[in-house]
């Protein structure tokens, strides 16, 4: 007679796998319904034209934490100030101009006013009509001076700090601070915030993802179902890990990045992506941002793009980087950095279909942020700002 424990295990697995199976069926159905398009035009597109800007081009630092596009303008938050790209020229703003601190971790644009909100390591700076105003934990309700994330929601500005996630009601000059005392989180460790389509999402360090519904003012929490730090028990069972680093919510799809891989949630089904079962360049993901159905994934070993409906990947990775040979070069070893160029790798799920050598690659494989300007893409790397120029002719 079969052991009851074995039967129980079987049923337990069946129960956990059922949503994953349904998810698979739904994906298949989605693929069937997808429009038939030429391979070269499938999303994600393949960008083969890249240019990179460095300090010699006018940037205040090589290390770029974040990037945001506002029409024809591109703002970059660096390790040593804020940079604005306009009319093919970079202009810098620093503490002497009114910025609260040189290191700018995140940026947000108010779509109504085009004001800039800069989250720095020592306060939040509001730039409006050329004027700078600084908010710190001593002169405002900002929970902590190290501001990891910022976003604009209607007339409110949300911040992610190590001491709580806060909503600044600009018109009323009032702050609402969300901590374990008034929202479903264990520790008040905000890491990222984003707003779209009536919902604010907060990525929490060790606390998964929080969803705030603007209409109802209610919180909802997403956690890793297995609750373990060192394993992911089942694929596609929910959020891949509770150490979350960013969130993107576009076209009703929630993308969540972690240092352990990425998760996608369409409202019914979860999908997990890790190195080896997808075209993801690395599990260590600093940020994810979607444009339409495609997520752009900023990892420490390259930039990945994936269409969640088809699981087709295009990943931009360095060819033969120095670190692949010797992880810890000594002071006498040269070169200490560098690659033999870059390539775009096209995957169907984890299957590598094609590799395209790029004439020019990105500034560095350590990618911190991404934003979009029409068909173009702007990338914050730890060594310069890279610009992917979309030219259909290049692919054809």
């Amino acid at each position: 007679m079969m052991d009851r424990k074995v039967i129980a295990r079987g049923i337990f697995l069946l129960a956990l796998l059922l949503p994953a199976c349904l998810s698979g069926l739904s994906r298949e159905k989605a693929c069937e319904n997808a429009p038939v398009i030429a391979a070269d035009e499938q999303e994600p597109r393949i960008y083969t034209n890249w240019e990179t800007f460095h300090q010699k081009d006018g940037l205040p630092a090589e290390k770029i934490y974040c990037i945001v596009v506002d029409g024809n303008k591109v703002w970059a938050g660096t390790d040593n100030g804020l940079a604005l790209f306009e009319n093919r020229k970079w202009k810098s703003f620093g503490v002497k101009d009114g910025l609260s601190f040189p290191a700018v971790l995140a940026l947000a644009i108010d779509p109504a006013t085009h004001d800039v909100w800069a989250a720095t390591m020592r306060g939040l700076t509001h730039i409006s009509a050329g004027r700078f105003k600084v908010y710190t934990q001593l002169n405002s309700g900002l929970p902590n001076d190290v501001v990891f994330g910022v976003c604009v929601e209607n007339q409110n500005v949300w911040t992610a700090t190590t001491n709580g996630t806060a909503r600044f009601r600009l018109a009323e000059n009032k702050w609402d601070v969300y901590t374990p005392a008034n929202s479903p989180q264990h520790e008040p460790w905000g890491y990222f915030v984003t707003y779209n389509d009536g919902k604010v999402y907060a990525a929490l360090w060790g606390g998964g993802v929080l969803e705030f519904d603007i209409a109802t003012e209610q919180w909802k929490s997403y956690l890793d179902p297995d609750g373990e730090m060192e394993i992911d028990v089942l694929r596609d069972d929910g959020l891949i890990h509770v150490i979350t680093t960013s969130v993107s919510y576009v076209e009703k799809i929630l993308w969540v990045s972690t240092y352990f891989g990425m998760s996608r949630y369409d409202g019914r089904h979860w999908r997990g992506y890790i190195e080896g079962d997808s075209g993801l360049p690395s599990n260590f993901i600093n940020m994810v941002k979607a444009r339409g159905r495609v997520a752009w994934v900023c990892t420490d070993r390259g930039l990945g793009t994936v269409n969640g409906d088809t699981n087709r990947w295009v990943s931009y990775v360095p060819t033969d980087p120095v670190w692949a040979h010797k992880r810890t070069p000594g002071p006498e070893d040269t070169p200490l950095e560098g690659t033999q160029g870059w390539e775009a790798r096209i995957y169907d799920d984890a299957k590598l279909l094609k590799t395209i050598k790029l004439a020019e690659g990105l500034g560095n494989n350590h990618i911190n942020g991404v934003d979009f300007q029409g068909d173009d893409v702007w990338v914050a790397t730890s060594k310069g700002v890279s610009h992917g120029v979309w030219k259909e002719a290049a692919v054809k």
Partner: protein, 465 residues
Amino acid sequence: MNRPFQIIVSLPGILLLSCLLMAAGRQQSTEQKKPERQNSTANKPAPEKGADAKGEQAKKRELYGNVPEDLAPFRDFVDEPYKRYFVPSDSAVAFWGPGRDKPEPDVTSVKIGLLAPMERSHETYIGRSIFRGMQLAIDDANSAGGYKGKPFEIVARNDSGLWGATANEIVSFSYDDQVWGIIGTVDGANTHIAIRVALRTDIPMVNVADLDATLMETRIPWVFRVIPDDRQMVYTIAYYVYKQLGLQRVAILRANNRYGRFGVAHFKKSSIRLERPAPIEVNYEVNYSKVNLDFLTQMERLQKGQPDAVILWADPEPAGLLVKKMREVGMKIPVIACERVISPAFLKAAGAAAEGVIATSPYNPDANNPKLIAFKKHYQEKFGQQPDGYAAYTYDGTQMMIDAIRKAGLNRYRIRDVLSEMRQWEGVTGPILMDDVYTNRRPVSVATVKDGKFVFGLTRFDHLF
């Protein structure tokens, strides 16, 4: 479809049925194994049926954190999880970004940051030990020529324990003070905050006193921990109370903060996996002196749980008062405590009630290690007291940082790289054996209070993780 069948095939129905069957299976399994547990002294995890020795060895290598096979998460439900992190088959925790080609600047001294609770905190007793341990290591390094003739210098900042304050201190270390690395911190909550900022500012941290297991399970490549974590402590305790002593009902008494909550987390999980969940978990407020000095509520609740033993996770003084109160109300059961109680403050607070209390320790201060003997002598001469475990691990951690700076030069990226290569280090605390997330996985030690003093290695433990 008729309604009962619909309920059974629905998802909640399947889960409910699964839980019922598992509960039945567990009960049956517990009953079958009872005699073996009562007589168990070998305490070695039984090998999996059908697994050959090689397969078993390979599987053990893939278990992170020295977790014993029978305490592995979800082992009753899946043979192998979809993904294991922090094991050799996983990608290395490494920094893949640029920075190693940054030139060495001209400096007058080589600054190393110290972040520890030195005032306005209930953990100052640890912070001050850290400061003394670091001071001794810096003095030794400067006596030996410093860095290319330039002295090492401590830049100390207080870890006040306020939420978020640690983040601001790491920013100051990185940008204002221009330190090359940081030694500290103590509290799990503050350390988590600190390492997130260190990740953004690219600065190596050597942790010497925070045993929160989750700290290193974040994949941040800039942090290294030289002191064994709470996993090692509680696996040792769980095997001792359940497998060696054969106890059934072990209660938890802990501080109501992250240290207490996460300190016992793996003990709670271990108890469940060994099919003896803790009958009760009781906590006390860290500011107990203002709210509940007599601990009567805690005692009442503990007694209702009718435990065979108590696991105690607390700072030394409240731990001593709690043990004293337990004995006063007639609870003569074994008390097994965390490493923080190995302190004169605990012995003073507990008085005679301390006798027989067992504590896990990150190292053995009575070991016959020439380096340790010299360190203790030097420490006594300089500070007029004997070092505790935090001072000893700080001395080792600071020496590792100094060694890394000397090898790598003044470049934070290369210093991080050299630290990541230090997988085996012989220090005053004995061997430091760094695993794939850069935390020390050496076996822990045990101390028992005998005749008013902590005696190391007195109680026989068959498994020291």
